[in-house]
Amino acid sequence: MSAILPPSERLWWKQPIDKVEWAWIAIAFVWGMVMFAMMIYWHIYGKQNLSNEAYKTTPEMFAAKAEKFIAENTIRTEKGLNGEDIPVAKVPAGGAGYLIARLWAWYPILELEKGQTYKIHLSSLDYNHGFSLQPVNINIQVIPGYEHVVKMTPTKEGTYAIVCNEYCGIGHHSMLGRIYVK
């Protein structure tokens, strides 16, 4: 009986399984169940779960909602590379903020407060993008046609970068956004 020959025992399925093998199978099985339960446990007791709230949308609809949010909440502007104004929108505590992903920018700059909970609406106006918050290292896929409402509570003050980590063309590496946490 070798792995490249037909089993020498014709009734191989009637051969007993050794105790050690049974033990290892049992360990693997129980460990699988632990890992499975862990994900469910974290949904109940953990504090880092990705939101289930998402809606179908269109680039036009999402852009309109985001522009309205920016118009109502801009507190100042910063200069971009070519001297253009980039609005800094302060998201109302406990309220909703909008973040547009598009070729090749995250728009606008968001300002949050530590310890407050925000509903950040994420969507893309063109290709897939990747919301990668650094140096916290939270990574969320941003897909055109889907508005993802992610509840976030910043735990530390600072200036954070949003790296795009889904390949989106030639300018991908320059797609860097910003979030301030005061």
Binding site: S2, E21, M39, L50, N52, V136, H172
Partner: protein, 564 residues
């Protein structure tokens, strides 16, 4: 169709003429794809190495697309076709079903490969291996992959047909060998996978020529990964089958239990299909329930299968060695293993690296919430370079040292270099995978041209450790490319200049597998049971690493912003 059968004097294996030629041609096509993939790998590495940054952005993304397609699709699947023909026609001593159709399938795959590569190098299809819509490639990019996939699907059909013929013509008695069973698993998964691929790439092709107006970006990701991830599960099944094959050939090892090993393969068939979810864990469009159930392969039953193989393969080797008298202590069987034989060393490094690095990182990465720490970071390619490369590719390289003399009737040239190649490639690639995962843990993105974000309106400075990891990625990446290049050189060199070996006698009729061949009698041990304490220790070590690393990542997760 008249055909002949050759019995190899070295191995006792019997090769049917058409199957043998198909195996050779598929293997050679695979090696050519590996060569293209290797050259592009070097360019990718030298660009991501921050100190060198060789290519401009547009060329980098083009080359990265080519690297993904040539390695993950073309090299692996061409070689797998050879494995399927070997596991059916050769191991069952049977003629190949419909050899003309098999040739048509091969040429379809060749045409598809060339077409997709042409599309990529024309520069209008730098969409990455994944080609997420609505980013659009040239129509012949999709068409090439479709043709290739159709060819591969036909190849699977030939494999199934050959099994049927072998059964009908009674070329063997009893059940098919375990290795053939593993190949059957691979072929069944391949069939599902390729159908999923057709389900998304056909509409995408129509969309690229303007017939379909829009494809939902989330739907694309879900169905595409039914191709993209499941096709890596073909690899797992194929390389696990090769581990068993090598253990059988080098040690005369028999499976500890046919029942357990086959059951583990069956679990692959039942649950590996769900893996598409691994890529959608941080997506908006699926519910948490869907993610949890699918990402765990329905409660980790496929992970359990891999853990079983991870025990039974070294266990079979240990049992065989102990029967030969290497019974001192826990590990004499391993110390006295033929470490100078590249067939064995390649297989064993493949086994260890796949288990400890690729396997553990894959499960952690595929945990629903933990995925947010790693999604689309450099961790992801770090993970799959320790599964598809040190796992599958290294296993394929190892078995090639066996196949060159047997299938191509040539002696390997430069045996000293053959001895070191698996170590050079396997170890450098394992370290490469580790440092890539390290960089990913620090947040560094995959598929990203510039860590310094030139041209961005803001600045972000990665931690110094991330630059260190990327520098190490460069160094070990170059060593790995040298190790891979050395393999290509040795194989091609042996095919061209190796000493010709006697092919053995040729007959018009197949010799069926006798109930007790010489090969079988050498390994027929009856029911004697050999304990395998060394394997138990190794398996427990794996388990401890697994548990620790798993919970460390939950700890990391608990420290980030609160999300709900």
């Amino acid at each position: 169709m008249a055909t002949t059968y050759r019995t190899c004097p070295v191995s006792g294996l019997q090769f049917e003429d058409q199957a043998e030629k198909l195996m050779r041609w598929n293997a050679v096509a695979g090696v050519l794809a590996l060569l293209a993939g290797g050259i592009t790998a070097l360019l990718v590495i030298l660009t991501r190495w921050p100190a060198i940054k060789l290519l401009p952005a547009d060329q980098f993304y083009l080359i990265l697309t080519a690297h993904g397609v040539d390695m993950l699709i073309l090299w692996i699947i061409f070689f797998e076709m050879a494995v399927l023909y070997f596991a059916s026609s050769t191991l069952l001593r049977c003629r190949l079903a419909a050899p003309k159709v098999a040739w048509a399938a091969f040429w379809l795959m060749v045409v598809g490969s060339i077409m997709t590569n042409v599309a990529i190098f024309q520069g209008e299809s730098s969409v990455m291996f994944t080609s997420y819509v609505p980013m659009q490639a040239a129509p012949h990019f999709y068409l090439g992959i479709i043709l290739f996939a159709v060819g591969a699907l036909i190849g699977c059909g030939i494999f199934f047909g050959t099994l049927v013929i072998a059964k009908r013509e009674k070329t063997y008695s009893g059940s098919i060998p375990l290795v053939t069973f593993g190949a059957l698993t691979a072929a069944i998964i391949a069939t599902f996978t390729i159908l999923a691929g057709a389900g998304i790439l056909l509409p995408t092709l129509l969309w690229s020529v303007g017939i379909i107006k829009e494809i939902d970006a989330q739907l694309y990701r879900m169905v595409w990964w039914g191709l993209g991830h499941s096709s890596q599960q073909i690899n797992v099944s194929a390389h696990v089958a090769i581990w068993y094959l090598i253990a059988a050939v080098v040690f005369g090892a028999k499976p500890l239990s046919e029942k357990v090993s086959r059951f583990a393969f069956l679990l692959y068939i039942l649950f590996l299909q769900l893996a598409s979810a691994h890529h959608l864990l941080s997506d908006p469009g699926m519910s948490a329930e869907w993610k949890v159930l699918n990402t765990s392969y329905f409660m980790y039953f496929a992970v359990m299968a891999s853990m079983i193989h991870g025990f039974t393969v070294p266990g079979a080797v240990e049992a065989a060695q102990r029967r030969k008298g290497y019974t001192n202590g826990l590990f004499e069987w391993l110390r006295k293993a033929p470490w100078g034989n590249p067939v064995f060393s390649g297989m064993f490094i493949s086994l260890v690296s796949f288990g400890f690095l690729g396997g553990i990182s894959g499960v952690v990465l595929g945990t629903e919430q933990i995925n947010m720490l790693m999604h689309n970071t450099f961790y992801v390619p770090g993970h799959f370079h320790t599964t598809v490369v040190t796992g599958t590719t290294l296993a394929f390289m190892a078995v090639t040292y066996l196949l060159v003399p047997v299938l191509f009737k040539r002696e390997m040239i430069l045996p000293k270099l053959c001895q070191i190649q698996p170590y050079l490639f396997g170890i450098s690639m394992s370290v490469l995978g580790l440092v890539m995962m390290g960089a990913g843990t620090l947040g560094v993105s995959r598929r990203h041209w510039d860590m310094a974000f030139s041209g961005a309106p803001f600045q972000y400075e990665w931690p110094g450790a991330a630059y260190l990891m990327m520098g190490l990625t460069g160094i070990f990446g170059v060593i790995a490319v040298i190790g891979g290049g050395l393999w290509i050189l040795l194989v091609v060199g042996s095919l061209l200049f190796g000493k010709k070996l006697d092919g053995g006698k040729v007959s018009d009729k197949p010799t069926p597998l006798p109930a007790n061949t010489q090969a079988a009698s050498a390994v027929a041990h009856g029911h004697d049971h050999v304990p395998v304490p060394g394997t138990v220790v190794l398996a427990l070590l794996l388990f401890v690493c697994f548990v620790l690393y798993y919970f460390v990542n939950w700890k990391y997760l608990s420290e980030v912003w609160l999300l709900s």
